[in-house]
Symmetry: C2
Subunit: 480 residues, 2 copies
């Protein structure tokens, strides 16, 4: 395919994309396929000779679309949102064309520098404390990670390295392995599974901290656990707080937890993967109070801020901590400007070496929406969640299971877990809307998350009508 054909096929693809998103409501949100469906639809081997492009495009509808869960359908209420916007898609096209691998400043200065400045822009939108802003002389700054899982892992590894140095400063003879075996990390029992995974990867113990009746970790309980572990000769070194937990969008009490972590010389990382985007609105910013105690902070614009996946923004107070965790300098990656204070080599900030020019997406989105446009997007989706909450509350058969603070509503039928499992099965089977469950205090709960940019009030009303219709059918069954 030469440039001329790309011009033609590119235009067709732009139209295909626009058509897809404009008419997405007409597709069933959840696919009706069985595991293994795709293999039988395509050859068992790659072709020897080039094929015709038209055949490939035809196969997108024949092979791919029947098996797609449509995350941008207004009938998709599962998990948490995946961001999508036209400006981000345009920026991604540009990113693909430039196609640089920005592991160091020299590998593409624009790729590195736009990222640093975009993280500063975003940090200011979030009113982060000055210490997280890179500026021209700051010790902190931001980076785009692929996912929140990687941000959590990076923070845990940085904390582990810092803890080893700190212990060895007074006990130079203690081996790394010996110290590792005493390190203890903490996180909420409601935290995302990736936090526990980070500890498994890092080879350190992780304790799950019980939460209060709002599914939040409180200071006194962490304090107690830390004291107990210290008394047993262990070394508490890391706490991962969550703002906006995955099950119920709960918020750990970081104003209580931060001072404890600081006092105990424990790294505090804040995972605000979903909820963080909301903090650009003044009315939600108080939820981030206490961030000044954190060593690192992460949120996913690719969830709720209209920047297509992947774009997980992370800030650190002290870039030396994260770089120091495993800086390595082979000759083929060295370059002239490396020792300048202005130069950032982002490969030291992340697990992978290579990286795409992802800050272009942030730049396009921030400028095409403006802060006000982005705030409007958040507010609209919170209002839709509140609308759904009202519908649930008005129906005496149902109950709300956690305070609705942002765009997630946790609800259930009053009654057994089995009843609710049945209801969810009926919902999934009908394929009209899509949601997933969670477990809260041993109860099986349905999660209704406002996801698609295209979701409007009428979709919420329709979804509720559908749920109540299925509920009616369910409760008609003889054994209820």
């Amino acid at each position: 395919m030469d440039a001329a054909e790309f011009r033609r096929r590119g235009r067709e693809m732009v139209d295909y994309v626009a058509d897809y998103l404009e008419n997405i409501e007409q597709r069933p949100v959840y696919p009706d396929v069985e595991p293994g469906y795709l293999r039988s639809l395509i050859p068992t081997e790659a072709p020897m000779e080039p094929e015709n492009y038209d055949d490939i495009i035809r196969d997108v509808e024949r092979v791919i679309m029947p098996g797609v869960t449509h995350w941008h359908s207004p009938y998709f209420y599962a998990y948490y949102p995946a961001a999508s916007s036209y400006p981000a898609m345009l920026a991604d096209m540009l990113c693909g064309a430039i196609g640089c691998i920005g592991f160091s400043w020299a590998a593409s200065p624009a790729c590195t520098e736009l990222e640093t400045v975009m993280l500063d822009w975003f940090g200011k939108m979030l009113q982060l404390p000055e210490c997280f802003i890179a500026g021209t002389h700051g010790h902190g700054g931001g980076v785009i990670q692929g996912t929140a899982s990687e941000a959590t892992l990076m923070s845990l590894l940085a904390a582990r390295c810092k803890a080893v140095r700190w212990v060895q400063a007074s006990n130079p003879k203690k081996s790394e392995a010996e110290i590792f075996s005493k390190l203890v990390a903490y996180t909420s029992e409601q935290a995302h599974s990736s936090v526990e995974r980070a500890a498994l990867i890092g080879g350190v113990m992780m304790r799950k901290v019980p939460t209060d009746n709002c599914f939040a970790v409180r200071g006194d309980i962490l304090k107690e656990m830390v004291e107990k572990d210290k008394a047993a000769g262990l070394i508490p070194f890391y706490f991962c707080a969550t703002l906006g937990t995955t099950p119920s969008c709960g918020f750990d009490s970081i104003t209580e937890l931060g001072p404890i972590c600081n006092g105990e010389n424990m790294w505090m990382h804040i995972d605000a993967a979903y909820a963080g985007s909301a903090f650009i609105c003044p009315e939600f910013r108080p939820l981030l109070n206490g961030v000044e105690f954190a060593d690192s902070f992460n949120l996913n614009p690719h969830k709720w801020l209209l920047v297509n996946f992947d774009c997980s923004t992370m800030w650190v107070k002290n870039r030396a901590d994260i770089i120091g965790a495993f800086k390595m300098e082979p000759l083929y990656l060295k370059h002239e400007n490396q020792e300048s204070g202005l130069v950032t080599d982002y490969r030291h900030w992340q697990i992978p070496l290579g990286r795409r020019f992802r800050s272009l997406k942030m730049w396009f989105v921030f400028r095409m929406y403006g802060l006000k446009g982005l705030q409007a997007h958040i507010r609209k989706q919170v209002a839709l969640a509140k609308e759904f909450e009202s519908l649930v509350r008005a129906d005496k058969r149902f109950e709300i299971c956690a305070e609705v603070i942002l765009g997630l509503v946790c609800f259930r039928l009053k009654g057994s877990n089995e009843l609710n499992q049945k209801l969810l099965k009926m919902i999934t089977k009908s394929r009209e809307i899509h949601l997933v469950p969670c477990q809260l205090s041993g109860r099986f709960v349905l999660r209704f998350a406002i996801c698609a940019r295209a979701t409007e009030s009428r979709h919420i009303q329709q979804a509720w009508q559908h749920i109540t219709q299925l509920t009616f059918e369910l409760l008609q069954e003889p054994n209820h």
Copy 2:
């Protein structure tokens, strides 16, 4: 921006991308900017109100392009190639529009299933042993990682977990920490820095194995090191072989190393990030002989097989090994089909949770080029490297520093490291071509890698003319 505007802007962007790539030769390959250049060109904060799209596009030329290292310029010979092709870019547009996060089968069945089948297609193109093919009943199979660094880390973590289980089977009382402290991993002294980094992350020792005069690890030396470590009470558990090292494109002797690893119950991972793509050509396939001994194998189509970054393909013999390393199942990620043998939940195969629909790029590229077209691409670039090698060999002032097997030529001026450093500085400063150095047996060496898809014989001739012109100037200087 609504769909109608996206249609218009999307067409413009397609043209911008085509223009950029058609005229890339006219841009200096390496940017003439100082660290911090970008910050002064844009505002210090994000705008409150939406901006005009035309202003953003104007800023791409004003702010971004002056700071871009043009990886797809035919004058770019640095690092290793980053792949780029029009079919991959079209597929990426589709990927962005679908915008699913394919962490589990249910999150988008097509995303998971196309990936499994594409890895089978590709595995067959590479003539991988049957045990690496998923098929419908296989125990092995493939996955797309973001980068080779992640593939290496995943293999090391899987090996670590397997080693712990194996030790604990006979010594149930041995703690994980105790075992970790005895584990030893091995890799070539020529291996990529990410391999050492994987060991740092995993908290295990890593030994660098010396190489022979072809920069290859040989069986006897590994055997000797393993025996010594075992005698000291340590537990050798992992060897990362490299096929196509970063400094010189050297090849570890996996036919010798494989049986040793198998005999010692050590996991053998093969990192063929760059060179692996060449194995689709029968004449280069012998370089992969010995893969049957490996537990996992990785290469980057996003380097040399025309699939835009990121796309790093990894196969494992036993998927249970990699999944078992840290499988976790929170309720919000469970789904009905989970226990079926046909279902793959790729989140267990990788560090991040989220993942893009990257197999679309492979599907488009494989079909638009066909196996023959891809082989032609590899062969053309190898021929260009051989052409450059001949030019170097014909000039008595220069020497070739490592056998030219694929698309990389390592060369230097006969003389001091300082002389060669000076030559590279002149090359970098002139900005007409771009290359990076490496260190081989203590000598400073220039690496000339055939990178861009657009590179032709005339560019090679021009590059060599340029290098000899600078050499002439350098050798004219009074102190030489």
